[in-house]
């Protein structure tokens, strides 16, 4: 039996935990994808121009699937947080004068995820008593969509902080390659315009529009996929540096 020193042991189990979070991401992504497809109002996304009567009818006609999808998001959505905390953990390995990027990143992740959690509560409350009266169902639906799409600031900050941390990292032996910084900035820019979903009722910026729905959510999903591979490489290198066999 191999005897590890205390330091080696903690580094080995720490890496094992990070790898567990990493490999839970594809499973979680699959679950979230199923929930996303199951929601009857995403393909195509519900129009903000629907009348109160149409919105009420939508919730009455599709109650079971709306409940399935939104209760599912409620249950599984926040499981994405450990994945972003894994990114934060790697940011803490980066060379920076202060570590302030990783420190602020956590607030941005937590606040952004809380907004998502609030949004599926509004969707699910609307489906809880769909015969409440169309006017009230419509305002719950508006709140759900606006909170889902428009409050983009915490995500923008999250990508900006990651980019700043990558740029400040040691250029000779970076934790993440430099292009991850550029890519994070690009993702922030792609997602930022969706704040307009709180104002526009048609066009690309409306919550069902090309920019606010497809570009925003597509950019976020793609970012998670890309970061999965980036993190996998970073963890392999960390294992190598710390002399831990995978």
């Amino acid at each position: 039996m191999q005897v590890l020193t205390e330091k080696e042991e903690s580094s080995a189990s720490g890496l094992r935990a990070q790898r567990a979070v990493l490999w839970s991401a594809p499973v979680l992504a699959l679950v979230l994808l199923v929930l996303f497809v199951a929601f009857p109002g995403f393909f195509p996304p519900m129009s903000p121009d629907m009348s109160a009567a149409e919105v009420g009818a939508f919730y009455r006609d599709n109650t079971p699937l709306i409940r399935f999808s939104m209760v599912g998001f409620n249950l599984f959505g926040i499981l994405i947080v450990p994945f972003f905390v894994l990114i934060m953990t790697q940011m803490q390995r980066m060379r920076s004068e202060s570590h302030i990027y990783a420190f602020s990143y956590l607030t941005a992740v937590v606040a952004g995820a809380t907004l998502f959690a609030l949004s599926n509560i509004f969707f699910a409350v609307a489906a809880f008593r769909p015969d409440r009266g169309d006017e009230l169902i419509q305002v719950l639906n508006d709140l759900a969509w606006i909170i889902f799409i428009a409050p983009i600031g915490m995500l923008v900050a999250q990508f900006a902080l990651l980019a700043m941390a990558v740029y400040a990292d040691d250029h000779r032996a970076p934790v993440f390659p430099r292009w991850v910084g550029h890519y994070a900035v690009l993702t922030a820019l792609a997602m930022a315009p969706s704040a307009g979903a709180a104002v526009f009722r048609d066009g690309p910026l409306a919550w069902d529009g090309l920019v606010s729905f497809w570009l925003r959510n597509g950019a976020f999903a793609l970012f998670v996929v890309v970061m999965f591979f980036v993190l996998r490489t970073a963890l392999a290198r960390q294992a190598e540096q710390e002399g831990v066999t995978p």
Binding site: K7, E8, S10, S11, G14, P48, T89, Q92, R93, S96, E97, S98, H99, I100, Y101, F103, S104, Y105, L106, T107, A108, V110, A111, T114, L115, L118, E135, L136, Q138, V139, D142, L143, I146, I147, A150, P151, I152, G153, M154, L155, V156, A157, Q158, A160, L161, M164, A168, A192, A195, G196, A198, V199, R201, Q241, E242
Partner: protein, 259 residues
């Protein structure tokens, strides 16, 4: 300073000597981001969104609808802009947390501050933006629903007291226990006044008009004066604390293998 700190200081001294500069680049970046964020926040909240000073609590539903109608453009422009930059709160809290980590009172209080302010960002800010944008999104809603969104936005924004009370208490305790003199002790007492204003502001949940209403002399204007004083002192002390850091101040790294 801990062993880790001195070990790192030695480690850094082996690096090629750079010209000593005042402060750290990252801290100055965050200093300016903090200033820009709070300025932008003031413009968005006060001039465009009209949330501070707030509209009256003692209105009827039709007056609330009329108020939204009058300020629709300002709310939409100002609050969408705030939705985009709202993440500046994460950065602003981060820099305060950073200085708290530098205090001898330890990083626990820094994390408590970050956590309390992280909670506050949602009910204390984002819920207001979302409620009022939802109101202006369909101005032809039932006036009762508009009235509800008016109150929900205002009370969430002005009436979220505990998150900030917790954050200010933690800052005050951290400064009082700190032996590194990152911030002077008197600033802890200024901070305690912030807690007092939050406690007094709890009365806005009970009063629709007068000095204790959400637009009242005591709950709002005295609180604004105290906050203004706090932020002016803070920015000055922040500048001083940032300048006191040299490139040789040890970074807050954790040693390899301890992560």
């Amino acid at each position: 300073m801990t062993d880790a700190g001195s070990a790192l200081a030695e480690d850094r001294s082996e690096e090629p000597a750079e010209p000593e500069r005042k402060g750290k680049r990252e801290i100055w970046i965050f200093y300016w981001l903090f200033g820009v964020f709070y300025t932008a926040l003031s413009v968005g909240v006060c001039l465009l969104g009209r949330a501070t000073p707030p509209p009256r609590p003692d209105v009827t539903e039709l007056q609330a609808v009329a108020w939204f109608d009058k300020h629709q453009m300002g709310i939409q422009v100002g609050f969408v802009f705030l939705l985009v930059i709202a993440g500046g709160a994460a950065i602003s809290n981060g820099i305060i947390g950073y200085f708290m980590k530098r205090m001898s009172s330890g990083k626990m209080l820094a994390y408590a501050y970050i956590a309390a302010m992280g909670v506050g960002a949602i009910p204390g800010f984002q819920v207001l933006l979302v409620c009022w944008l939802t109101a202006t999104f369909r101005p032809d809603r039932d006036p009762d629903v508009m009235y509800l969104l008016y109150d929900l936005g205002m009370l969430s924004y002005n009436g979220s007291l505990g998150c900030f009370t917790a954050a200010y208490i933690v800052v005050a305790i951290a400064i009082l226990y700190d032996k590194n003199r990152i911030f002077p002790k008197w600033f802890a007492y200024v901070t305690i006044w912030q807690v007092v204003t939050e406690v007094l502001a709890s009365q806005m949940w009970l009063h629709h008009s007068g000095a204790f209403a959400w637009n009242g002399m005591i709950t709002l204007y005295i609180a604004l004066v105290v906050f203004g004083l706090w932020i002016v002192c803070f920015l000055a002390l922040f500048r001083k604390a940032a300048a006191a850091e040299t490139a040789r101040t040890p970074a807050l790294y954790e040693l390899e293998g301890t992560r």
